[in-house]
Symmetry: C2
Subunit: 424 residues, 2 copies
Amino acid sequence: MSGSPDTHHVVIVGAGFGGLEVARRLASAPVCITIIDQFNHHVFQPLLYQVATASLAPSEIAWPVRHLLRTRKNITTLLGVVAGVDSARHHVLLEDGGTIAYDTLVLATGARHAYFGHAEWESCAPGLKTLEDATDIRGRILRAFELAERETDPDRRAALLTFAIVGGGPTGVELAGTIAELAHETLRADFRHIDTHKARIVLIEAGPRILPSFREDLSSYAHAALERLGVEIELGRAVSECTNDGVVFGERTLAAKLILWAAGVRASPAADWLGAPADRANRIKVQPDLTVAGHPEIFAIGDTVTLDAWDGKPLPGIAPAAKQQGRHVAATIELRLRGDTSPRPFRYKHAGSLATIGKRSAIIDFGWIRLRGRIAWWIWGLSHIYFLIGVRNRLTVALNWLWIYATGNRSARLIMQAGQRPKP
Amino acid sequence: MSGSPDTHHVVIVGAGFGGLEVARRLASAPVCITIIDQFNHHVFQPLLYQVATASLAPSEIAWPVRHLLRTRKNITTLLGVVAGVDSARHHVLLEDGGTIAYDTLVLATGARHAYFGHAEWESCAPGLKTLEDATDIRGRILRAFELAERETDPDRRAALLTFAIVGGGPTGVELAGTIAELAHETLRADFRHIDTHKARIVLIEAGPRILPSFREDLSSYAHAALERLGVEIELGRAVSECTNDGVVFGERTLAAKLILWAAGVRASPAADWLGAPADRANRIKVQPDLTVAGHPEIFAIGDTVTLDAWDGKPLPGIAPAAKQQGRHVAATIELRLRGDTSPRPFRYKHAGSLATIGKRSAIIDFGWIRLRGRIAWWIWGLSHIYFLIGVRNRLTVALNWLWIYATGNRSARLIMQAGQRPKP
């Protein structure tokens, strides 16, 4: 599986923003490339929350990896689960027992949400990292309204109509705002026994304000905009318990049948595969040139690494950071093949921070200018459509957004469960 | 849950074409209506095969039932699984222990695929009736190519690239034609180790010709059109065995890792709920007015019944037949409420038969005119877009089809599995 014997073989694990960027930038280099992912698709993660809230269909924000790379004849795409790395023999080990030899290895294996040592919370407080997560959360949100419609006990009904979102970063804010719109606008006329306007959406943030990575004025603006959408915001108390009945934070207990987790991430096990130094979230502490200490032939990038390469601050876990790292690694590999092995420290250039609050408001901090409100939303929307892959997806996403904007209706309101089959 | 005490309460079980039509036609009648379905969505079943073959997204052919009925204030939609009927007390029994009283009951509970007494074949030869089935089959088809790309043994690779479709009716023909296009056109450039053009698509029909419900000349045309797409057609031998390794029909054994079942259906258990007379496929033998014998207040319609109401022939299992029955039942209920209880035998009017072969050919028999080829495909396509619900869905389906037509690319090539989570 490793191309002709003399060609330098680059193996990339993970087809997220980082891994895909490495593959694309190396397309004309004298290398053969194998890119391995456990899913057959690349996901545009910044819009995952819109799948989870029934605004977009999964296939509108995801593309088969091998289709994206079909014209690059030096690239082989493999669907497979990596179980480890034999760094002494330069082999990637697959879960099914297969091995793939590499000359250069790029680990771009991302992160999952994490529960601060409370893994048992995952079943009652799902997080949002994959398309499967998103369709699962979509089903849970919609099912809560269905169950409430049939519930006669007022307390149980109220708990079904209470949505707790843990974590006041961009994902938590985007989920809270969109669920509020779903409940208060989209679903309003559809039920007979419940008033979806009474649904409570509670955003819980342990810190003193939401969107802490933004300037304080933008953060307060978002706070007020969320409250206008009907979101209740609870600050300054960390969650100490999640159960199927609700969430405990500080001395408060909130009865909520659905809790969504947007509070923390943990890197992939890439650090464990290599025995590499890692931080508390298991992110590999890479060298300034994005290689793994002691393994100049192994690069690690994206959410699975940590590096103080943003003017001395740690890299943010966002798509542009992963892409810049991917570009840097591809350039380093090309230079090395030409004999230039001088160290090339990576420096991150921050283009800006964006977060949306529902379908009419957003905040943007470009550094040199800060925007908020409706115009920020349009810039956010257009830039995301621009970064989507393919004309067809841009058209359908734009069409869906215009539809939601004009009518309030959301098109992907499906509760689906694999394995659920009607009784024969 | 049964409206005000004096209002006549109609309970409809099943929100397919038949059940939905009853609800819609009764929207202005002096009744209150409860419609119950085990899914939250109505599915446009005629295009289900396009979801299974990655051409359309699930949400493009499905709509939340309660959203479709949101403006009909006399209708309550419930998500629930019906477990039985207490016909003596006029109660529908739900799986979760709930009961719903009815004055008139309409059973429109459809059918599932059936294995002629070989239920054990279901796991290796899935059928296509729900969105879950469709996304499951989509994943299996795409995964077969992924596994073949990594397989080095030529026999195992050939078996992975052999798709057996059992049943030469419209569903089998549509699946075979579209899988052939997927393999030979859409996926052609995407793989490095396999030639997807070598994938074998084998359509197995026990009878002497495919599409037996069509006239012989149209059936031969479809046969030739399928062969031009590269489908192998095996006639005259019934399947006697399905396993994970292949399918046996007559004295032939075909090594095929994926078998799709389009060979037979079995009605819902509605007949069992009532102890009603049924045929071998468990379809209720309804009275000429679509009531259940001995229960004038219980109607049954659609794929869960059988009745010789098509010029003396049995009703066909297609959407227009279910809709006409729904319309008839709604009219009967309205007349009864006005005091007219005279029996109203149902008569089916057949508008025409349609089947597509891939994306460029179809056959249509309107009775007075028969069409085939490209023009038939366009009539088929436009009529299906017309029958889709909602402007947005018509736009996106039309856009997708034009896209597939022009580029050969299919947009919904996702392998998704609920419950699949990356390793932490």
